[in-house]
Amino acid sequence: MALSVQTLFFAAYRDLLGTSTLDVELPEGASVSDLVVTLRARGAPFDALPEEPAVAVNRSYAPMGRSLAEGDEVAFIPPVAGG
């Protein structure tokens, strides 16, 4: 069994990866942390992502341990600078 999530990359992360979205397959029961490890394992430029980036799952901020489910939207959030 596997699950598929949609990742989003904004601002500096999008510039780094040259893309704003990517679908990623993960084993059942994977967490945000597993997603980050999977992405960084792809090598450059993905390995330049932080080991513990801020992410939002389905538009809510989530910790690294958060479990992912089929169809989740996982956004990689560089340090924010609104106002």
């Binding site: 601002a11 989530a62 956004a75 560089p78 924010v80 600078a81 106002g83």
Partner: protein
């Protein structure tokens, strides 16, 4: 009525101000965040604001709701602009009104501080020398290694 919105068109401060006020209220406060011509000693010529729009709308509404509890009224309006902004243009406007001023100052300040902590918005600064860069930001609470 609490009002919160991410917008792409120029912000008219008087329109944001007009969203608050009530016969019970003795204090009205309007805060404007404006693009300034310098940052960390570098001359800035403009700024591009980018956001995670669907989430930013939700987070801004959440911040507005929390601020209204502090304010004690629902006379609160906050508008954040994204896109390409020139020096002197308003990036954020916050209007509040309440019977007493203490709650107004507190709620107004809360909104801008929380925006800076957790609204998924990023700024790309354009410098006078032609360079540009993402403005260093803040890691939102409850995420990553935090």
């Amino acid at each position: 009525m609490i009002h919160s919105r991410i917008v792409r068109n120029p912000i008219a401060p008087s329109e944001v101000l007009a969203r608050v006020g009530h016969p019970e209220d003795g204090a009205v406060l309007l805060f404007l965040g404006v693009v300034r011509d310098h940052a960390d000693g570098r001359s800035v010529t403009g700024m591009r604001y980018e956001c995670y729009e669907e989430m930013a709308e939700e987070v801004l509404a959440e911040i507005a709701g929390e601020a209204a509890l502090r304010l004690g009224t629902d006379r609160l309006a906050v508008v954040h602009r994204v896109g390409e902004l020139a020096i002197g243009e308003t990036s954020v406007a916050i209007a509040v009104s309440s019977p007493h001023r203490g709650e107004g100052y507190d709620a107004s300040r809360f909104v801008i501080e929380e925006i800076k902590k957790r609204l998924p918005v990023w700024k790309h600064e354009h410098y006078a020398d032609g360079a540009s860069a993402w403005v260093e930001g803040t890691v939102p609470p409850g995420t990553g290694g935090a």
